[in-house]
Symmetry: C2
DNA sequence: GGCTAACTGAGCCACTGTCTCAGTTGCAAC
DNA sequence: GTTGCAACTGAGACAGTGGCTCAGTTAGCC
């Protein structure tokens, strides 16, 4: 089963319609690599309206099927997400993006909550650096 | 010495001019509370052009005197920054913002770097939750 | 006081995302 | 297979945030 098909099933299971534009967008997103801007999707699916692209991205985010990434310059990118909770590691040179998760990070958050009395509801964690390939190329 | 004066010294030390608009903006930002939107600054300093507000915010960010905070909804806010490296804890209800720093977090980042071979150059970490006062008020 | 590079203001542009509203369509029920 | 209708869509206007340009101004060194 392709990623697109898996997501179609998720949509159906949650009671959302499986429309032509949605199928087209899933297809396009699967082909756009590990992350993409909203505009990339708009350009890659000229038959689908811009509003629909943004609506669909938002819907997919709500379904935890797509996640949003804040790039180093503050721009936002999107990414077809794996199921588990994860964070992003981005290469500032070649834009490669990797997921990672860390129990230690969850411990840090718990500690912050304990120390401040806040109840934590969400967090955002992105790490920017240079991947091994880019280090080798320019070292 | 006020925060604004300290920043003026930083500007001078780095070879930047101390102009009227810059002084006005520093004054305004000091009075805007713990965090503010670019638009708040624009409104609070009607004599200063919009472009100058954004240019100055950017300059102050480069000088590590102002830091950018990504709010839960993706909007960006600014904040006069303390000297040390820190992260932000935001109350989603009353918008209170607290700084915190964590050696454990630095350890998490080091571990990610080790595991992936990336050299880490920067990161972004924001935690969203509810502050003790808001918990008490609505519990 | 004069000089000049740094800075500024106005206004237009770009990008990202939202909203509205009339028209279309998936799909469940018949 | 047809129908009904809520969900969905497209076009285009709008909003918020920030950048760019360029002519004019000014801080601060001499």
């Amino acid at each position: 089963m392709t990623t697109a098909e898996a997501i179609e099933q998720t949509l159906a299971r949650r009671g959302y319609r499986l429309t032509g534009p949605r199928r087209a967008l899933l297809e396009v997103m699967s082909g756009l690599g590990d992350h993409f801007a909203a505009d990339d999707v708009v350009n890659a699916a000229p038959a689908v309206g811009r509003a629909t692209v943004f609506r669909t991205l938002k819907l997919l985010q709500d379904l935890d099927v797509v996640c949003q990434v804040v790039l180093e310059d503050g721009a936002t990118a999107y990414r077809l997400a794996p199921d588990e909770h994860h964070h992003h590691l981005l290469c500032v040179e070649c834009s490669e993006m990797r997921d990672f998760s860390s129990d230690d990070l969850e411990a840090v958050i718990a500690e912050v909550a304990r120390r401040t009395g806040f109840t934590v509801e969400a967090h955002r964690f992105e790490v920017y650096g240079r991947c091994p390939a880019c280090q080798a190329r320019t070292s």
